[in-house]
Amino acid sequence: MRLTHATVHVALALMSDPGGQHWGYDLSRRTHVRSGVLYPILQRMLDHGWLTDGWEPGPDPRRPRRRYYRLTDEGHRGLGALLDAAARDSRFLAVFA
């Protein structure tokens, strides 16, 4: 996984609640990462097996369901390693300050 500011911000947001469900738009708002950047990152994490996804049973069956993402054990380790690498990288000093 390429180390970028967006990836690091998303990783931090996911690791802030490792056992919880995460929503695309919610992540976008919390990390200030545009959805055009966020969704490909999430897709890459899914491809790596770092995330699993599922569909929220909607409260209203007429409305489209929301998709959630959940961190896997492998993802927990992967994102941990990614954040470790970022913390040692001078480009991301401001993120961890």
Binding site: R34, G36, R65
Partner: protein
């Protein structure tokens, strides 16, 4: 400044603040290939947020859909091409189709006009020769009458293979040409046999045959070349008779 008397403003207000974000998003998500989870995901996100956020979200999704959706679509097409290249050629589907026991020249013409390598389907379930072409329920089928040969079943027509890349293309010109040709052929035969006195019968025959031709021709559909091969790649294969639920629909001369 919003002026309620201005028709442009009246158009823009619902567009931006309420009515249209959902519609716009539904259009935008169509940039993703059919069946892509992002289609439903983005719509789900839209309806989970406040009204005032929705237009902004849709504006963001323009970029997402263009960048991610189009690239996914492109990859899907390239994937299809690769899959198609690895597939062996489809044996030509031949045969004079029979519709309710009546040979329709229109059908013959329509079948020939789409070319020997195209996969086409029809409600006609029988054909002389070694190959049968037809439909099993909503599935395309190509069956050889030789014992021990394989029946090849396509995906249901309503769900096109590989996420909707294949398209059914009715050939209106072929249908018209087929109907015209069949009418002329039958008319010429009837005229020769019956002479001028048979004009009434000739008219009736022409009408019936044209109608049959039109009806049969309209049922003929083909896939464009690339998706045909993709459809082939998705085929299930198995000996005739094992598809018990559907194979009963097909009869052939032994």
């Amino acid at each position: 400044m919003i002026n309620l008397a201005d028709p442009v403003s009246l158009l823009l207000i619902p567009l931006v603040f309420g009515l249209m974000p959902g519609v716009l998003l539904r259009v935008l998500v169509r940039l993703y290939p059919q069946g892509h989870p992002r289609r439903e995901e983005l719509l789900g996100e839209l309806y989970s947020m406040g009204y005032w956020r929705r237009p902004i979200f849709v504006a963001e999704v323009v970029e997402t859909a263009l960048a991610e959706g189009l690239s996914q679509r492109w990859r899907a097409r390239k994937g299809l091409a690769r899959e198609a290249c690895s597939e062996p050629e489809l044996s030509p589907v031949l045969g004079v189709a029979l519709a309710g026991g009546i040979v329709t020249w229109a059908m013959v013409w329509a079948l020939l006009s789409v070319g020997p390598t195209a996969l086409f389907w029809t409600v006609v379930l029988m054909g002389p020769g070694t190959m049968l072409s037809g439909a099993l329920g909503v599935k395309a089928v190509v069956v050889s009458t030789e014992l021990g040969s394989e029946a090849r079943l396509g995906p249901p027509f309503k769900r096109s293979p590989q996420g909707g890349q294949a398209t059914r293309r009715p050939k209106p010109l072929a249908v018209f040409a087929a109907a015209l040709m069949s009418a002329v052929t039958i008319g010429a035969v009837a005229g020769t046999v019956l002479g001028p006195d048979g004009s009434l019968l000739l008219g009736a025959v022409l009408g019936i045959e044209s109608g049959l031709g039109m009806g049969a021709g309209l049922m003929v559909t083909r896939y464009s070349d690339l998706p045909v091969r993709a459809a082939m790649a998705k085929f299930e294969r198995g000996p005739i008779g094992l598809h018990s639920a559907q194979a009963g629909d097909v009869t052939h001369d032994e």
